[in-house]
């Protein structure tokens, strides 16, 4: 069967229009990042006729400690991503495969927490970190990011873990392996796409996290990238060329990570996997 050419054309028109609607703002942002004007709103005509150059990128990279904050963010994000994955997998495995009294209650409490906005929790979280003596350390950030992210990753992964047929376990059980072996040899390899997806989401959630980082980190040298981004939004006036050059640098790692993983991307709620905060 062959679809009529005009129907094909119509369908292509619609989805290409859709794609343009998503792509065009990025293009406009990239074009703006080439503009060298001072603190004023660039005119669309200037933007469309700009000559691509990397001047703003070099300038921004060396300004406001941007390069250092970029590396700081990389450290914070990678560690908390690894931690989140580990904890998420373990917890999801526990909930997916074991029966134990109070499981339903515990699960409902988890569920409840996903529905209350997290913005208000910053102060109590901060006080806990302070009592642990971890203010202005990355350990403080890691604890909040990992501890606060468990629920999301558990929900995300549990579904995948539950769909793994029980028969797979038998070979391990026959070999005399226990729960850990099943976890390591069956559940993890079987759910790699899900874990990879979650890793990307977790990376993104931490990479862009702003409110908690602002409150926990007091040392200027230890700040993370989103803070640097907002530092470009000056008190008196905004230089759009700089702001967007900085934004694009900040976007590159997530986009790269996504493109690498995207073939095997699986789905979950868009509120999950990221950091609640």
């Amino acid at each position: 069967m062959k679809t009529k050419w005009y129907l094909q054309l119509l369908v292509y028109t619609v989805i290409i229009m859709g794609a343009l609607a998503f792509l065009f703002p990025f293009v406009y942002m990239i074009l703006t990042s080439f503009i060298k004007s001072a603190y004023s709103l660039p005119r669309p005509k200037e933007i469309f006729s700009v000559v691509p150059n990397l001047d703003n990128y070099f300038l921004v990279w060396n300004k406001n400690n941007f390069a250092r904050y970029f590396l700081n963010s990389a450290l914070v994000t990678v560690v908390s991503m690894v931690g989140s994955m580990l904890l998420g997998c373990l917890t999801a495995y526990g909930f997916a495969r074991f029966q134990f009294p109070g499981k339903e209650l515990l699960f409902r409490v988890f569920l409840l927490t996903t529905m209350i906005p997290g913005v208000i929790n910053i102060i109590p979280q901060f006080l806990i970190i302070k009592n642990l003596g971890l203010v202005s350390t990355y350990w403080g950030l890691w604890l909040i990011y990992i501890g606060g992210g468990v629920v999301g990753s558990t929900f995300f992964l549990r579904g995948f873990f539950q769909s793994i047929p029980k028969e797979y376990e038998e070979s391990v059980l026959i070999d005399g392996g226990g729960n850990w072996r099943i976890f390591w040899n069956i559940y993890l390899p079987q759910s790699l796409p899900a874990i990879g997806t979650l890793a990307v989401l977790s990376f993104q959630g931490t990479w862009e996290e702003y409110f908690t980082a602002l409150v926990i980190i007091k040392d200027e040298a230890m700040r993370t990238l989103p803070i640097a981004l907002l530092m470009f939004n000056d008190k008196y006036a905004t230089n759009y060329g700089w702001v967007f050059a900085a934004s694009i640098i900040a976007l590159i790692p997530t986009v790269l990570l996504y493109i690498v993983f995207q073939k095997r991307f699986v789905q979950g709620g868009f509120n999950e996997g990221g950091v609640k905060g």
Partner: protein, 437 residues
């Protein structure tokens, strides 16, 4: 179990290795600062050990350069026993950071804080009363009175004025010539008449109210005879909504209806500076940072010579502007209040104030402010003069909430959603209810 241990140890050590190497790589110098701070923080260590004090500020780029390259080294040279650790805070989300710092006993020793925040934080108990500190009277007599008073709360002073500012009227020279004026208008009537002419000549805006809020509108509101409170800042009812205030707001609303006010007020474009620079706005008002930024701009096609600046136009309330600026406060949980006070006192002496003035920061120290080297920037004299008649925003702990309410009233009136009188009546009522809480 064994298996789990293996994984977790593996991960942990990987994590550790990574974090250690990366910390070493990225933090370098500051890590040692942090350590020396901790040792200095032990109460046992006094005397010989060098004390590090934490100072949070929000200086802009130009200003920060002066601070780190000239001011602080000079202080550390004169006071070798004290080291000042500077942290530039993002303006965005600053209050959250201060709150978290205060709540978690993690605030710095000192902070440069917007003058209107001081009573609010003082009431919370977050700041130290410096009026009992050694040498306070001397400090008090060396600075201007109005900025000093912004630190007053509950029979004490909770900070010292670090720099002050206000806004003056800045005209676009080309447009001024277009309406046939050699000099900027002095009185409100002349100003309004010239504005109307400028609009006829094709200007996009003439009266430079930057937004429907106290900071933007109060110079005009006060110059037209309006008031926020009585003189002791204790009563609002009958002042904010008194006949003079209503008349003043009505005049502003009328300007808006006639299209005289720059579109920026209600969120339109061009921005204030853009409009002036593109010869689209007849007049704007702004602080000294306008000039210091303008003069530092490279290859700009609009220069300081293209502007004419003067006092705010004089109405029945006089030529009024609004006092801004920053105070230096010491936090209640500072670990080194004595050293912090030493630094605070030093910062408002003549020399450092003169250095900071180079970055466009108006000294609060009277001697520094009148020093020829400071006044040599052409615009500086105009600001110092305007400061004599400028008014502070209400220095009360509830000001933050009060301002939200006043802003709302102004915005409702200029948008035509409410009659000026009704808007001010409602605002006065709401403010009274906060004050009486």
């Amino acid at each position: 179990m064994k298996f789990y241990k293996k994984i977790s140890i593996g991960v942990m050590s990987a994590v550790l290795a990574f974090s250690l190497s990366a910390c070493g790589g990225t933090n370098g110098g500051s890590a040692s600062n942090g350590n020396s701070d901790k040792t200095g923080g032990n109460p046992g260590n006094t005397g010989s050990k060098k004390v590090t004090i934490e100072y949070w500020h929000t200086y802009g780029e130009q200003e920060e350069k002066v601070l780190t390259e000239q001011v602080v080294p000079k202080f550390e040279e004169e006071h070798p026993e004290i080291k000042v650790n500077l942290t530039r805070m993002p303006y965005e989300g600053l209050k959250e950071q201060v709150i978290a710092g205060v709540a978690g006993d993690a605030a710095p020793d000192l902070m440069r804080m917007d003058i209107i925040w001081v009573p609010e934080f003082a009431k919370m108990g977050a700041l130290q009363d410096v009026s009992k500190m050694d040498g306070f009277e001397e400090v008090k007599s060396s600075v201007f009175k109005a900025p000093m008073e912004t630190n007053y709360f509950n029979n004490g002073y909770y900070g010292v004025p670090l720099n002050t500012n206000t806004k003056i009227a800045i005209y676009n020279k080309a447009l001024l010539e277009k309406v046939g004026l050699k000099e900027a208008p002095k009185t409100m009537d002349e100003f309004v008449a010239a504005s109307k002419k400028a609009m006829e000549q094709g200007a996009k805006g003439a009266i430079g109210i930057s937004g429907p809020h106290v900071w933007g509108a109060s110079p005009y509101f006060w110059s037209l005879g309006g008031a926020l409170t009585n003189e002791d800042y204790t009563e609002v009812e009958g002042y904010l909504n008194g006949p003079e205030s209503v008349k003043a707001l009505e005049t502003i609303v009328q300007w808006g209806k006639e299209g005289l006010i720059i579109p920026t007020m209600l969120g339109g474009e061009p921005g204030v500076w853009d409009g002036l620079k593109n010869n689209e706005y007849f007049m704007i008002d702004d602080g000294p940072w306008f000039f210091s930024t303008l003069m530092n701009e490279e290859n700009a096609n609009f220069n300081i010579e293209d502007t004419v600046w003067t006092q705010m136009p004089e109405g029945i309330g006089g030529s009024r502007s609004v006092v801004g600026g920053e105070n230096l406060v010491i936090f209640a949980n500072s670990k080194h209040p004595a050293e912090a006070w030493t630094f605070a006192k030093w910062l408002i002496t003549e020399e450092p104030q003169k250095i900071l003035a180079k970055a466009g920061l108006i000294p609060t120290n009277q001697k520094a402010a009148n020093d020829p080297s400071v006044l040599k920037e052409p615009y500086m004299t105009e600001y110092v003069k305007q400061l004599e008649t400028a008014l502070p925003r209400t220095p009360i702990p509830q000001y933050g909430e009060m301002e939200t309410i006043v802003n709302l009233a102004i915005e409702k009136a200029v948008r035509g959603e409410s009659e000026p009188k009704a808007a001010l009546d409602e605002a006065a009522k709401n403010i009274e209810s906060i004050l009486n809480k």
